[in-house]
Amino acid sequence: MSSEQRAPSAKPSPTPGLELARSVEALLFLSPEPVPVAELAEACEASEAQIEGALELLAEDLAPGRRGVVLKQVAGGYALATDPVAEQAARRLLSRPRTPPLTQAQSETLAIVAYLQPVSRPEIARIRGVSSESAVATLTERGLIEESGRSRFGAVIYRTTELFERLFGLESLDALPDPSRFDPTPEDATELRERLLRAGEQRSEG
């Protein structure tokens, strides 16, 4: 059977680039999740290189500012999303209220999970210096982090979700900036240390 299907006569004629781009656009329109290049290639019976070419054509057509929809590379695949131009109208039509921004507790907790995953709740609490139950619960509720098992001490451990990557416009977790970028400079660290010590000296003198 399969050898028959692979026979040259049964092979579909190679899809021209434009038609392939149309198919890819249709697939991204239908798919509820971002679609990886490999899956697009399999579905279209094309090579990954051909898909990349089609995606390039599509990216041009859907370049920001041209249409109501833009092409996004997120969460390990490609997806269509609306252009910000339509945000207000879309929220009115679908009565989808704007999601509230992250609170500081939520963004700190999310950063810890994103960089250290899988990470347990006690570890999050140790770094933040406060029990972070409510932030963890809200982030779980919003689908940005999820439980991914238990540590050997029995604590629930967390990781980020695919939705996190999508909503933060990340192609993958590797697209997160290097955390050392957020480290204080050696000068800042020295200054902080000196401030601690100076405070001590002032107190013991006074």
Partner: protein, 239 residues
């Protein structure tokens, strides 16, 4: 109870222990101004109230309070005695390391919050697949169901449940008594409307009354008329 939840009411700070730790880490409360002896006393009070010693949280408390004490002694006495377990320098470095670690994630979090704000105006589609993609295509359809199941389902629908079993119910309505009632009523007025006389009776009584009526008809004592289907039945005595 976890140490983190230990409620403190100090001169400079009021709230749970973990909040105190957080404020110290954020440099919002000066360790120099916190009376650590009071913290220890509060913890001892708590132990007394609970009446039992939770080893795990006691250990956690001791580690935390020891780190704070050593750091504080280092802050207050630049030349600290040598006999402390944790070198004052180490204690300060430990707290400093934790402050720096916290700052890293605070700033990374701020970056994430920016990404989130920038992406929020993009909305994604979430719609079910069109119906034709949700069902088998005609070309791909293979026999998957058994036609006999349909015939069997139809047979089940032709089945009528057996009438309810009433053999355990003893009739308590006697024909004699219904005959007496009918003769009595007819004797008084000569004419009865069946519904007016018996509609409030139960079905069994009504049925036995009908039997009694048939008996009277047979004997030539009474006859009845009904002008239309389900219409009123009028009984006339024939003396």
């Amino acid at each position: 109870m976890r140490v983190a939840e230990l409620e403190l009411d100090l001169e400079t700070f009021s709230g749970p222990f973990d909040l105190l730790m957080a404020l110290v880490l954020r440099e919002e409360v000066s360790l120099l101004e916190v009376d650590l002896a009071e913290v220890v006393l509060a913890y001892l009070d708590h132990l007394e109230r609970e009446g039992e010693l939770d080893l795990e949280s006691a250990t956690e408390f001791l580690v935390l309070i020891a780190a704070l004490l050593e750091l504080k002694s280092r802050l207050m006495l630049p030349r600290a005695p040598e006999d402390l377990d944790l070198e004052p320098e180490e204690a300060a470095e430990e707290l400093l390391a934790r402050m720096l670690e916290y700052r890293r994630y605070r700033d990374a979090g701020a970056h994430l919050a920016q990404l989130f704000a920038a992406e929020r105006p993009h909305l994604y589609r979430s719609a079910p697949l069109p119906a034709h993609l949700r069902r088998v295509s005609l070309d791909a359809a293979r026999p998957s169901y058994e036609p006999l199941d349909l015939a069997q389902a139809l047979g089940g629908l032709l089945r009528v449940p057996p009438p309810p079993d009433v053999s355990h119910i003893r009739p308590t309505v006697s024909l004699e008594r219904r005959l007496r009632v009918l003769r009595d009523l007819l004797g008084r007025s000569g004419r009865i409307d069946f519904d007016a006389a018996f509609a409030s009776e139960d079905r069994l009584t009504q049925a036995v009354t009908l039997f009694a009526l048939l008996e009277m008809y047979k004997k030539g004592e009474a006859t009845w008329t009904q002008r239309e289907l389900f219409g009123p039945i009028e009984i006339t005595g024939q003396a």
